[in-house]
Symmetry: C2
Subunit: 163 residues, 2 copies
């Protein structure tokens, strides 16, 4: 049923050797797959960076967006961050609990919150930003400055036109 052209056969031929070279088929040249692998690899790398600051990687974009847009609401924030608003509930809760973010009700719209960074939040963000800059420098080296601009432009186009 399963002929000799399978991984076991290949492994046996190679004398039980470790890693057989994998056939990725069409995946090898498809954008989607390579995009996913690259993104996840880069994210893991940044995750290691941010762990050294004692933060989770996902917090960085959140803190940055609050810092740059003081008083932003949770819905606006989730939109800018590309996540569902319900995903933000536990995140904001955690940030408030740990004293990095302050949140108050709007006077004119008592449904909405407005978010601000506390001094502690600004300090944490500063540390995270330093790490992120290192991370970016490494990505810059990998990509090469010549292609960088064009690369980002393509990423933006994907985000805009595949939505």
């Amino acid at each position: 049923m399963h002929g000799t052209n399978d991984v076991n056969a290949r492994r046996r031929q190679r004398g039980g050797g470790a890693d057989v070279s994998i056939d990725f088929g069409p995946l090898a040249t498809w954008i989607g797959f390579n995009l996913r692998i690259a993104q996840e690899t880069a994210f893991q790398a940044f995750s290691r960076h941010s762990k050294e600051v004692g933060e989770r990687p996902g917090r960085f974009a959140t803190l940055t967006l609050i810092a740059r847009n003081p008083g932003i609401s949770q819905t606006e924030l989730s939109l800018a961050n590309g996540r569902d608003k319900s995903s933000l509930t536990p995140v904001v809760e955690d940030l408030v609990r740990r004293g990095l973010v302050a949140r108050r009700r709007l006077e004119n719209d008592r449904r909405a919150y407005s978010l601000y960074l506390t001094p502690a939040g600004k300090k944490t963000l500063a540390m995270l930003t330093r790490r992120a800059r290192q991370h970016e420098r490494k990505l810059d080296r990998v990509i090469g400055l010549r292609d960088r601009r064009r690369f980002i432009e393509i990423l933006r186009r994907i985000a805009a036109e595949m939505a």
Copy 2:
């Protein structure tokens, strides 16, 4: 404390208008952030495609890798797919339960499984592949054939050198 230079002030100025333009700060030009947003957007799009086939998007790469490498083990598969092997346990279980994948113990190594696609699995994969091709065509259009090759090459380099 919080001056007039905040989102609420801006929103009030605009007469309670809907979307205030967000300041992304350094995120706007950083690779990591744009990579994440682009990947997630593309993934969502493919998710819609695969839902029409009644499959989850994550299953596609798994099925393809099994199809191209019959008899592959779960560890090899998880490695090729860029996931932890423990993530694969429920996935394979589900695929076996639904009759898309067959799994047998190796005779020479009774710890390991070898995975194969069943006829039903091949059929499902064929349908998914058709959708994936459409998805890829759209990505191609967005990126432009001129940059496509270079773009993938950069993604591969990121995956390889940020690991």
